[in-house]
Symmetry: C2
Subunit: 109 residues, 2 copies
């Protein structure tokens, strides 16, 4: 039932990462995950007015593309950015994304 598949570093593809980050909601999640070195539950990152199944779908996309890691603990799932892996695979990508956090980018436009 629970696959919780995480691709190996070498299998993280740039096109898949770009595809995952092309959705405003997912990009915002990544920015939020990067803003603090902590884990979040899925519910904590769920925007208002968005259903559980929707956010679950986005986490799956982010996880299968190699951007986040999911850890089970009881009934909850903690997600975190694969910072080191992404930096090793695509140096500078996260840095560039976080730099835009201060400007006016990640709100879908």
């Amino acid at each position: 039932m629970q696959d919780i598949f995480h691709p190996d570093i070498k299998d993280i593809s740039l096109t898949n990462v770009f595809s995952a980050l092309s959705d405003p909601m997912r990009l915002r999640i990544v920015v939020q995950l990067g803003s603090m070195d902590e884990e979040y539950t899925c519910a904590e990152l769920q925007p208002d007015g968005i259903t559980k199944s929707t956010i679950s779908h986005h986490f799956k996309v982010l996880r299968e593309s190699g951007i986040i890691r999911t850890r089970l603990e009881g009934t909850r799932r903690f997600v975190s950015l694969r910072k080191q892996d992404l930096e090793a695979r695509f140096p500078g990508l996260l840095t560039m994304i976080f730099a835009l956090q201060s400007s006016n980018e990640d709100k879908g436009e």
Copy 2:
């Protein structure tokens, strides 16, 4: 008829750029455009087995997302990377992409 719309630098959005680059064919075009400081005609960048209408569509996506610039000359159109604009807007993005050119990324996987 001919719009040839190019978004202003400030209107280039990261999600749109990621979306444009999430397609393997378009990413390959960008890599090829970046490998030389030259302009290409659309036909020169057309992969084997791909129709004109398809490649025309991809150039439109790249242009409207702010990644390339199109210049008319006679019946041909020369396309080039908006290197400076992209570097100003998303510092390090192109550098990161071109670094992968040497590795084994940009072939769809």
